[in-house]
Subunit: 204 residues, 2 copies
């Protein structure tokens, strides 16, 4: 018995669209669709127009390319931050994660993606020329790579490294190792290997 | 350091709207918003218009009140099903769950909610008169209550039981194979199937 035949084309279309969100399966999408269906029409209108408005009216910081409603973002505008440090990240989520650590006081460069031929994203689709333009100004002395440790992230970091190696800047990458609270036993071999290679002098 | 100050009002509004979905937290909502932001405008338009269209153009089966694009739904229209059995459920999700067990071949009556004074839902907001009208026709011999086993579900079942006890029908409830506090939606098919087979005469 196919449950699909008892649903409507309207519902199917909405569920299919919602299930296109990352990590949202068919069951959750159905749940969200039925939730929206129960809301007053005005709420659903608010829901969809907030998303449309975000997509159509979003503006980016001309410096770091982070989402910013009004020109230069608060991080780039903050002269108390270290403007000689730039951390290259994939998305705003990573900026928020790093900001939440309270350990970083430099600037960012938000790529908005990584090189991924399978998804049709090539180097030209990423704002790497914009990073070079920032380096041209000569104020930056270190570029920190903070991209994901998967093939796309590594490829992108390597590509950027080659592009910017002509500038007199240090290029670093965030340390990889065993996370706090992680068991060695359950850490993958690559991470554990890296964390042994990159061991630090013991401090108490 | 407040991560919020680095975000835009447009993004905040979209995230807040997405986080209004059931079980979606702020972090997931941000992830979905950034995903939508990366999509072509046409895709986002498709996404939001599918939701608007569902909310504004949805139609219901005049018999069982299940979502149905074209008049009587396929379940009510199927004469090979047992039209003397009606299963009262809260939503389409529960219909799908029960259909997936393959154990039930009667009809449904979709309430679209349960009595919940805290949410402002009273008995008059539920299609209970419509259930009575179906019983008036005399074809139905058994009503099976398949509402969630929480206070609202129990209250609703009791209310409906009292309303329909004047009809010469058996009123049963799905067996308590479903754990207290569990939602039908997340119950495995075997348990749910058994609980329909082993339904009990409704007692107060």
């Amino acid at each position: 018995m196919d449950a699909h035949k008892y649903k409507s084309a309207l519902l199917d279309e909405a569920v299919e669209q919602i299930a296109s969100l990352p990590g949202v399966g068919h069951k959750s999408a159905l749940r969200y669709a039925l939730h929206l269906l129960k809301q007053p029409a005005a709420n659903v209108e608010k829901f969809t127009s907030a998303i449309c408005s975000l997509r159509n009216n979003v503006r980016y910081c001309p410096e770091c390319l982070m989402i910013s409603d009004n020109g230069v973002c608060p991080i780039c505008a903050d002269r108390s931050r270290d403007h000689s440090l730039v951390c290259v990240v994939q998305s705003l989520r990573d900026v928020i994660s790093i900001e939440n650590t309270g350990q970083y006081h430099g600037l960012y460069h938000v790529l908005g993606g990584v090189i991924s031929p399978l998804d049709g994203v090539g180097p030209a689709d990423l704002p790497i020329a914009e990073l070079e333009a920032r380096l041209e100004k000569g104020e930056i002395r270190e570029v920190i790579m903070a991209l994901d440790t998967n093939m796309e992230g590594e490829t992108t970091a390597l590509y950027i490294y080659r592009k910017i190696s002509r500038f007199p800047v240090t290029v670093s990458a965030i340390a990889r190792g065993v996370g706090f609270g992680d068991d060695l036993e359950y850490t993958d071999e690559f991470t554990l290997g890296k964390s042994i290679q990159n061991r630090q002098t013991f401090t108490v």
